[in-house]
Amino acid sequence: MNAAIDAAVALLLISAAVGVIVTGGGAPASATDPGRADAVADALAATTATVNHSIAPGVAEPNRSTAGTGRGSGDGIPELHRTTHGSLAGLLARAATASSGVARGTGPPEEPLTRTRVGFRRAVADAVRARTGAFVRIDAVWQPYPDAPVVGRVGVGPDPPGDAVHAATLTIPTGVEPIPAAATVTFEALGRAVAARTVEVLVPQGAAQVTLRGGGSEAALVAHRYARLAAATNASVAAPLATEDTAAANARVAEALGARMATDLRSRYDHPGQAVEAVSVSSVRIVVRTWGDPTEGA
């Protein structure tokens, strides 16, 4: 009788001990997620891709008012096809800068400066999407400083849910020099320096000059881009462009944009040194967000 109670109590205690070990010891194994966002970010920087696209949407645009031809009329012209090769992160960065727009008034710009790179942007988004799968959102943003009048962005993938999202960021250089220390003394100098670099990203001076001198439809595209940029900044570039002096044209646009950026920065920051911390004109920021089942889509 006593032995039976003893054995029953012992069995009860042993099963309780097993329960404690199983429930208590199992918890730490699933404590942290390794963070798939990091893996995707590394893959974006290291994977290369070749994208084929057409600049036909840009060619159709300047002629749209006069010729009245339908959209995509130049899609079949082989001279307008382009091939670009690079890392996925680099392609995203180029797509972000290429599709940037300049706001006329306050607030963010509504549309890209020209439609030339619409095809490139779509091709890059498709290439990235094909290599990252579902449950990943990638945003590449180029903005000289927060809430600047010039913004370029590319988004790939569906919108993430509200919670349980992992994020990782990458920065890719745009190829312009960083802000020199001499320009951080006054808001005017800083605005000028930021505007000059912004314009250099929007319309690279040397490349634009070679293209303008080459003539043909590419030259018309660059001229159109300058016209749009001049209209957005209230600058006059017709005189320097008549002699393909892109350095002078860029300087005029930068001057007009610089005054606006200087007032913008002054209203936002107390000190130029504080403002220069926020300036990110020489890099594109790529944010990767992942969620959902980590076994899928990787």
Binding site: V9, T32, I55, S87, P173, G175, A207, V210
Partner: protein, 221 residues
């Protein structure tokens, strides 16, 4: 008979059960109290990310440098000054290497990643300030019959710091292939005609840069 009154020399099963329960609870508590990440992997993660970002930054830099070199080619070196280091049979190629080095150094300088208390940075030849030294840091070769350029940048140094301590230093070598036919091989063996512009460049580039319009190297907004 009560358990306490039992004077036989045997251990009750229930006592063994109590010992097991106490031991198990202690073991489970020690397992879960060890924390979710016993190893701080932040330094490694930061280094890995910088490694990947360096590759992307270098590719972009090499591409831009090659196009810029083709746009403003130097084919005849000056006799004095720092440009004299470009003199020799391969002036354009040396010039291209110099441009790639400068672009690469600038491109990798802002590459940085912070993860927890660890910071990883990468640098390329920060102490280099003479042209011959810079030329040694980059090598360029034409592959696939001169239709593609391959630039190799050895000796990038990656440094991971936690606080003030250097946790890890690595040397990275990177090769960036690039579909720009800049250093196309020079077809004729006689390269003495240095006086004519663009004589130091090969077929495709000569056609594209030295003629009226630079075919493939055009840029369109």
């Amino acid at each position: 008979m009560r358990l306490a009154d039992d004077d036989r020399a045997r251990v009750p099963f229930a006592l063994v059960g109590v010992l097991l329960l106490v031991g198990g609870a202690t073991f489970a508590a020690s397992l879960s109290a060890r924390g979710p990440t016993p190893v701080n992997a932040s330094a490694d993660a930061a280094a890995e990310r910088v490694d990947a970002e360096t590759t992307a930054a270098l590719r972009a830099a090499v591409r831009d440098a090659a196009r810029a070199a083709a746009r403003n080619p130097v084919t005849a070196a000056p006799d004095d000054g720092s440009g004299a280091a470009l003199a020799g049979p391969d002036t354009f190629r040396r010039y291209l290497r110099l441009r790639i080095f400068l672009a690469a150094r600038e491109a990798v300088a802002p590459v940085e990643h912070r993860r927890g208390d660890a910071v990883a940075r990468v640098s390329l030849g920060e102490s280099v300030d003479a042209v011959p030294e810079a030329l040694d840091r980059v090598s360029v070769s034409a592959v696939d019959g001169g239709t593609e350029l391959r630039a190799t940048v050895p000796g990038l140094s990656l440094r991971v710091q936690r606080g003030r301590h250097v946790v890890d230093t690595r040397r990275l070598n990177r090769t960036a292939p690039l579909a720009v036919p800049v250093p196309a091989p020079i077809p004729s063996p006689s390269r003495t005609a240095e006086s004519t512009p663009c004589s130091g460049m090969g077929g495709v580039l000569r056609r594209s840069v030295c003629s009226s319009g630079p075919g493939r190297l055009r840029w369109t907004g």
